[in-house]
């Protein structure tokens, strides 16, 4: 299943946020979106998953999602969004219950996703007992449980320290290498973008437009922290964003 944005524009009242975004998200690829603060990245992601409607333009699903897919468009949120009153297990079964999956079948799925995110020992723990990195792994496990066709991630790692971030990026790469998933990955962090993205969409400052789409051909599992060619790409992205970021920053001061 692919996703296509065509001519998406959006304003909150008279406040223009996005302008004429057209973008294709091909199946089995990770598309990263980078751009200065406030340029509408989170808004764009909410359109992609149907949590909000754009004022103009269309968001299209092309092709049907695989039949075993319970929730085609699945989010992973920056703030984890785990229910504090449910255990790790309960948080995952939450999203299965509504599909009538209970008992042994649910146990099977939960055990599988917990094993894939290396959380098997923590099934009974409450979210407050987990570290930030583990909470985000629970959120990833929850997303995997519904077999998403597309994962929508809004700065999933930015609440974490840089070491945990590295580890979780490795985890995501491993997950993707085993079974390639489609993902839209919004981030501030250019290192994350060059590590995880098959293509990187650079947005201008608000009103957000697509400035450039950068493609990276190196396979994900061959990318390493500190690769010279990745550093090169990162530098190039930073050049692209520098002016926008500076201007966006100045704008905020003047508001």
């Amino acid at each position: 299943m692919d996703i296509r944005l065509s001519g998406v524009s959006h304003s909150y009242d008279n406040f223009e946020v996005l302008r004429d975004i057209s973008l294709e998200i091909p199946s089995g690829r990770i598309v990263c979106i980078v751009g200065p603060s406030g340029c509408g990245k989170s808004t764009l992601l909410r359109f992609l998953g149907g949590l909000e409607k754009p004022s103009r333009g269309e968001v299209l699903q092309i092709g049907a999602p695989p039949s075993d897919c319970l929730n085609p468009l699945t989010y992973i949120f920056q703030d984890f969004a785990l229910l504090p009153w449910r255990s790790v297990r309960g948080n995952i079964s939450l999203v299965l219950e509504d599909h009538g999956i209970r008992g042994a079948r649910a146990d099977g799925i939960i055990a599988d996703v917990l094993a894939r995110t290396k959380l098997s020992d923590f099934a009974k723990a409450l979210p407050k007992q987990l570290s930030g990195g583990m909470k985000q792994r629970v959120a990833i496990a929850r997303a995997l449980a519904v077999n998403p066709a597309v994962m929508l991630m809004d700065e999933p790692l930015s609440a974490l320290d840089s070491q945990t971030r590295e580890l979780l990026m490795d985890d995501l790469v491993n997950l993707w290498t085993r079974t390639p998933f489609t993902a839209v990955y919004v981030t501030h962090n250019l290192a994350e973008a060059v590590r995880l993205g098959h293509s990187i969409v650079v947005m201008s400052r608000r009103p957000g437009e697509i400035r450039e789409v950068v493609h990276l051909d190196k396979p994900l599992d061959q990318r390493q922290h500190g690769d010279p060619d990745l550093e090169e790409k990162q530098k190039y992205l930073w050049q692209l964003m520098r002016e926008e970021a500076r201007a966006a920053d100045a704008e905020l001061v003047h508001v």
């Binding site: 949120f77 969004a81 229910l83 999203v95 219950e97």
Partner: protein
């Protein structure tokens, strides 16, 4: 700066200033306060520096209490009072929670009922007792209604406040996983609102006890309120205090029960 490292600089502990603002409540302190106050009253009335007209002797109150128990009257009064309290409070609190949740979820209900609740809240409910007598009869009906109405308004206000405070990002999460509306309410909104609902219930139940006594004072043969009123009109301070003690015990019991429920239902918070 250089003298930082010189041996002559005196070293001293960094002053600790992170204490307080985290009250815990060791149980025995509460008991100790009661014991000290009662012993003072007992001592004072025995030695004569508190006149028996101002305060009855605690041991006499205890004796009265025992007589009351032995005569079987204690249970006669307590059972009617407890029934009124339970029926009235259960009615008021459940209707209140339901209304509060509806206000928290639906714009039209909110627009219609929030002003109404604001108008009803400050009315001293006891002033409406004559009205309730006409509507629901002079017997139990009017007392149930009074207590129910008195618990209803504070429960509504606490509940919709609690629903408003449920983390929106959790609701978004539920929607993003395609949970049904009903699932979101039952699994996300209600548990998220539970802390606020329970603390509102504490206040509502205290109000219920106050209204119970008031209703019983205005017209009842049995019940703790009637017992206190009779004792008061005879200036029988021992019996008056025995009645008041029962009320306090009732209050403590209620608050303990809610505490237990909180500990069980909200264990995820500690």
């Amino acid at each position: 700066m250089s003298d930082l490292h010189s041996p002559s600089t005196a070293a001293r502990q960094v002053t600790f200033r992170g204490g307080g603002f985290a009250p815990s409540s060791p149980r025995w302190i509460g008991v100790a306060v009661f014991v000290v106050l009662l012993s003072l009253a007992e001592l004072g009335t025995r030695q004569g520096w508190i006149s028996p007209l101002t305060l009855p002797r605690p041991s006499d109150v205890l004796l009265t209490f025992q007589e009351l128990y032995a005569s079987g009257l204690l249970w006669a009064h307590l059972s009617v009072s407890l029934t009124r309290l339970l029926v009235g409070a259960a009615l008021g609190a459940s209707l209140g929670v339901a209304t509060g949740v509806l206000i928290g979820l639906f714009s039209y209900v909110r627009a219609g009922l929030v002003p109404l609740t604001a108008a009803l809240f400050p009315i001293p409910k006891i002033a409406l007792l004559p009205l309730f007598v006409i509507w629901f009869g002079i017997d139990e009906g009017s007392k149930y209604a009074l207590i129910a109405f008195g618990t209803f308004t504070p429960t509504v206000v606490a509940t919709y406040g609690a629903v408003d405070n449920v983390d929106r990002s959790l609701i978004r999460m539920g929607q993003s996983f395609n949970l049904s509306w009903f699932s979101i309410v039952r699994k996300i909104v209600l548990p998220g609102a539970m802390p606020g609902i329970l603390s509102g219930l504490r206040i509502s139940l205290a109000i219920a006890i106050i209204l119970l006594v008031a209703a019983e004072m205005l017209g009842a043969e049995y019940g703790i309120g009637a017992y206190i009123l009779e004792a008061g009109s005879l200036y029988d301070l021992e019996r008056l205090f025995a009645g008041v003690t029962i009320l306090s015990l009732l209050g403590i019991t209620m608050s303990t029960i809610i505490g237990q429920i909180e500990r069980r239902v909200l264990s995820w918070r500690q």
